[in-house]
Symmetry: C2
Amino acid sequence: MPKRFAPAIILSHPQLGENIGAAARAMANFGLADLRLVAPRDRWPNKKADAMAANAGHVVAAARVYESVAAAAKDLKLLFATTARDRKVAKPVLTPAEAAKRLRAAAKRGLPTGLLFGPERAGLENDDLSLADAVVTIPTAPDYASLNLAQAVLLMGYEWYLAGDKTPTERIDHGIGKPATREELFALFKHLEDELDRAGFLYPPHKKPAMVRNLRAMLHRAALTDQEVRTLRGVVTALVKDKQRKKLREKG
Amino acid sequence: MPKRFAPAIILSHPQLGENIGAAARAMANFGLADLRLVAPRDRWPNKKADAMAANAGHVVAAARVYESVAAAAKDLKLLFATTARDRKVAKPVLTPAEAAKRLRAAAKRGLPTGLLFGPERAGLENDDLSLADAVVTIPTAPDYASLNLAQAVLLMGYEWYLAGDKTPTERIDHGIGKPATREELFALFKHLEDELDRAGFLYPPHKKPAMVRNLRAMLHRAALTDQEVRTLRGVVTALVKDKQRKKLREKG
C-alpha cells in the first residue's frame, strides 16, 4: 500500500523533542511517514528530535507544524483519537486492531486518515477528542496503564501494519533444506529400525511394533528437511561404527 | 490469569541498564513480572535500570541473573525466541499473535513458558536460538526493521496481553447517558420535523418524505443517548425562539 494511504500521525502539544524523535522512529518501523505536530512546546526544528529519530530522520524532516488540532486534521476524512483511560464522552471506543481495520478500509477507498495522540503527561483534552470520529484505547494491565507517547505510536503503527500484513501465522524457514519426501523419511525409519533390531533394542518382539510407532511419531513431529534426514542417517551410522570400533578395541 | 502463568522474559546479554529498565516497564504494562537476565554487560543491580523502570521497580528488583540462556530457561516447558530478521534455522517462525496464543494455551495447561530476547545490537546468536521451540519475528516495514529491546518486549507483551483480553472491538462509553429509547428518538424526529414544516424548510411537499428520511437517517446513525436527545430538542427550541425573538425585534 503506497505511503499516501497510511494514516497521518498527529501529535497534539508534544513536549520533549526526544519523544517526537522516538515517535518518528516508531512510525518508520511500520511504514508511516506523515507526521504533524500541533504547537510543540520546544523549538522546532529540534536537534533532540533529530538525534532520537536516527535513521527515521526523513520523517522528522518532513514533519509539519500546526496551531491547532483542527488545522492539522482539516484534510482528513477519518480521525481516531488515542486515549489511555476511558473518557466521559459518548463516542465509540475501539480496540487498536478494530481501528486499524477501519483505517485500512478507508484508505482502500482513497480517504485520507489520521491518528491523534495527546501530550506526554496529560493525554488528549476533551475538546480535542471532540474532533475525532472515535476513540482508540490501547489495552494494558489495569494497575500499570501508562504508556509513553512513542510506545503508543509504536503500538498503533504495529496494528496498522498488521492489518495489511499477510505473513502466515506459522511458517518454516527452509533456507537450509526442503521438507523431506516421505520416501526419504521412510528410508530413515528403516535404517534406524534395522540398526536398533541388530543392537537388540527393539526387544521383546511383542513390544517392537509399539516402540517403532513411538520412534516414528517423534520423527514425524520433527517435520524434518531432506538435509536433516541425511544428518540423522549419518548420526545412526556414526553411532554404529563407534560401537563396532569399541568392540574391536575391546577384543584387540 | 495469575502472574505465575505469564511468560518469563529472558534478556540474553543485555548491554545498557536503561534498556533493561525500559523493558521492565513494558513488562509491567502488560502484566509480566518474571524478568531473567543472562550475563548483563554492566554491573547488576544497576541504578540506570532502576531509574528507567520508574513505577515498574518491582520487576527490576525481582530480576534474577543467570550465566547462560540454558540456565535461565531450564524450568520452562515452552520457549520462543524473538528475532528481527529471518535466520537460517529450520525452525517454525511464528507471528507474535500466534506465539501469544500458544503461550496462553500452554499456561492454561499449567506449563511455565518464556520469551527470549537477544542483546540490543546483535540480536540472538544461533546457539541461543537452538534452545528455543520456535522463533517469533515481529513484522515491520522491510526498509526499517530495527526495533530496540524495550520495543520488542513491549510488542510481545502487548500481544500476550491481547490474547487474554476480552475487550469488545467497539463499545460506547455511556458514562454520560444511556442509549435513547425509540420513543425518545421518535419524539425528537417529530419535534424537529414540525418546526421545519413551520419554517417552510420541508418544501416542496413532494420532496418532504425524502428530506425527512435523510434527516432521520443522520440522527439514527449518530446512535444518540437519552441525554443527547434532550440536548438536541433544546437546540431546536433555542433556534426557534431565537428566530421568534429576531422577528419580534425586527417588528418592534
